[in-house]
């Protein structure tokens, strides 16, 4: 009733005031709903992101005045061997994560696709590691990979030597051991996405393949993979972007060690910013990481423009 009365009353008002009220209700009120989250978002994400561009051009400890030094930080990045080492590790990480979890999850999802009720149970249980917080997953595997009380020591006791090795403590294996643990946690997420995409493929296609005498492998290559192609390619892109940002498992398990052998850009940035108080240089590293992520997105957009169906 209230609004009805208001609208009748507004009809008695002078035209100008009425149009003001209308403007307020249709143009201003909708924005009042958006405003709180917008302000918060600008404060936390957008503003600091813009500020990072300025800080990356300064020499600054994070306290006091920042000294403008132009592109010096970026020159330093080019010469900094620690940075190069970290970037190399990110690229290794990228190579591992766009292959291994994809192979694992595609195979598992294609096995799950044919199952009915029991498939739900398998799906749920296989997804469990994904919901385990990183600190817990890392702690579980730090113990399982320990040469003293882990899987390797038990295998050595029953006569299978060679795996009672400190995988996380060796400069040769630390990065791969961390990637293994992160992947144990992560692959189930891809499986869930791929399974959902596979279940959307029309059953007729599989029936047709069967009539044509396709075996399981051919069915997978010629029906399943083309059927989930958009999801698959999107996830390759996202995982590639994430590879440059990975932090949790590296920091929790080795903090980049031993001897920087598992250092990645994020852990290097963390140390520069919060241990060495090089806020300017750290901002430049952050900007460079965004650049790599942006390059991945750019490559995909370029390929799509060129007419690739990605």
């Amino acid at each position: 009733m209230g609004e009805l009365i208001a609208s009748i009353e507004s009809r008695r008002m002078p035209l100008k005031k009425r149009s003001h009220q209308r403007f307020f209700r249709l143009k201003v009120v909708p924005w009042l709903f958006i405003l709180p989250i917008l302000i918060l978002y600008i404060m936390v994400v957008i503003g600091p992101s813009l500020a990072a561009f300025y800080y990356s051009l300064t020499d600054w400890s994070g306290i006091g005045k920042a000294t403008f030094i132009g592109l010096e930080n970026f020159k330093e990045i080019f010469l900094d061997t620690n940075y190069h080492k970290a970037l190399q590790n990110n690229l290794k990480w990228l190579a591992m994560f766009v292959t291994i979890p994809f192979a694992l999850s595609l195979f598992a999802a294609s096995m799950l696709r044919g199952l009915k009720k029991s498939g739900m149970v398998f799906r749920t249980l296989l997804f469990l590691p994904y919901i385990i917080p990183s600190v817990v997953a890392a702690a579980i595997w730090r113990n399982l990979l320990s040469p003293r009380v882990g899987l390797g020591s038990v295998l050595a006791d029953i006569g299978i030597p060679g795996l009672d090795f400190a995988f996380l403590g060796s400069t040769k294996t630390a990065l791969y051991a961390i990637a293994f643990v992160d992947n144990w946690h992560f692959w189930g997420y891809l499986m869930i996405l791929f399974l959902a995409a596979m279940q959307a493929i029309p059953v007729d296609l599989y029936d047709a393949a069967k009539v044509d005498g396709a075996n399981r492998g051919q069915e997978f290559l010629h029906v399943t993979i083309p059927g989930i192609r958009p999801t698959l390619i999107f996830m390759v892109m996202m995982v590639a972007v994430w590879s440059f940002l990975t932090f949790d498992y590296v920091w929790i398990l080795t903090q980049g060690g031993p001897a920087r052998s598992s250092e990645v850009l994020s852990t290097y940035l963390y140390k520069q910013a919060f241990n060495r108080f090089e806020a300017g240089y750290a901002s430049a590293i952050g900007l460079s990481m965004s650049l790599f992520a942006g390059m991945i997105l750019g490559i995909f957009i370029y390929l799509r423009r060129r007419g690739w169906e990605v």
Partner: protein, 280 residues
């Protein structure tokens, strides 16, 4: 020999079950060993680090609870989860409602901002954000952390909630408007009761993320009294790294709430994660 023949038949599901069982062992054995070890004594663990316990040592849990300061950290994490979920659903819900039903002029600019923001790496704005938060006195402040979590989850929440609200038919809303309800009343009395399952989905995904969040908490909270469960557990595992019985018991207490929630509401969880929660 019958089963071999069945195994090789084209439509047999036996190979599927065989492969999936191997997967299951890979995914769940580490968790099973965690449960075993949380119930052993230290000498038993040293002798047999993988097998089931002989005597059940439930006191590991109470010891871990006390030594891990779980009464403090659980409270801190619960505060973070409840406040973040409430703020995300309230502020994100209001914005989504406006975007879906009120047609604000220039709303595509806002959506573009959210898309760009969602793809910005957290490491780009971490240092300036830290400096800003220090100026505002929000370091070592749980509410400061809540604000960050809320903003970081805003894009996902808005994409999801908006997509639920766009699907609603306009009839209910029009009827309420004729009855004189204003926009806010329409949101709380008409739209909310219809899309609450969507809010539950978003709340679950956001809540689970906050409960396990590590890197932002590591940077923004350095006072041990304010540690959430994750950073405190990390310190606990390095302090008691030689006592795997204690750290296992602590780990189980930490994942128990999310395991229960996940297993009881897993369809909703998975829907939220697959539809909008694109994250690592």
């Amino acid at each position: 020999m019958n089963w071999i023949i069945r195994f090789r038949q084209r439509d047999s599901l036996l190979p599927n079950y065989a492969v999936l069982t191997l997967y299951l062992l890979f995914a769940l054995l580490p968790l099973l060993i965690l449960v075993f070890n949380s119930l052993k004594s230290r000498p038993e663990l040293a002798n047999d680090p993988l097998g089931p316990p002989n005597v059940l040592h439930f006191e590991n849990f109470s010891n871990a609870w006390v030594m891990g300061k779980f009464s403090t950290t659980t409270r801190n994490s619960a505060f973070l989860v409840v406040s973040t979920v409430t703020l995300v659903l309230t502020l994100g819900g209001l914005a989504s409602f406006s975007l879906a039903r009120l047609n604000p002029p220039g709303s595509n600019i806002f959506m573009a901002l959210m898309v760009v923001g969602a793809t910005l790496p957290i490491w780009l704005f971490m240092v300036p954000l830290f400096i800003l938060w220090r100026k505002l006195g929000l370091i070592n402040n749980l509410f400061g952390l809540v604000l960050i979590y809320t903003a970081m989850n805003a894009p996902i929440a808005i994409f999801l909630l908006r997509s639920y609200m766009v699907q609603l038919p306009a009839d209910f809303e029009d009827a309420a408007r004729v009855d004189g309800a204003n926009d806010l009343q329409i949101f709380t009395n008409v739209v909310l009761p219809l899309v609450w399952p969507g809010f539950l989905t978003v709340g679950l995904v956001v809540g689970m993320g906050v409960w396990g969040e590590f890197q932002i908490a590591l940077i923004f909270v350095t006072n041990p009294d304010l540690f959430p469960i994750t950073t405190s557990y990390w310190q606990f595992t390095s302090r008691f790294s030689r006592d795997w019985t204690l750290t296992s018991a602590a780990a189980l207490m930490m994942i128990a709430p999310i395991l229960v929630l996940f297993l009881s509401l897993q369809r909703r969880f998975i829907e939220g994660l697959t539809q909008g929660g694109i994250r690592m």
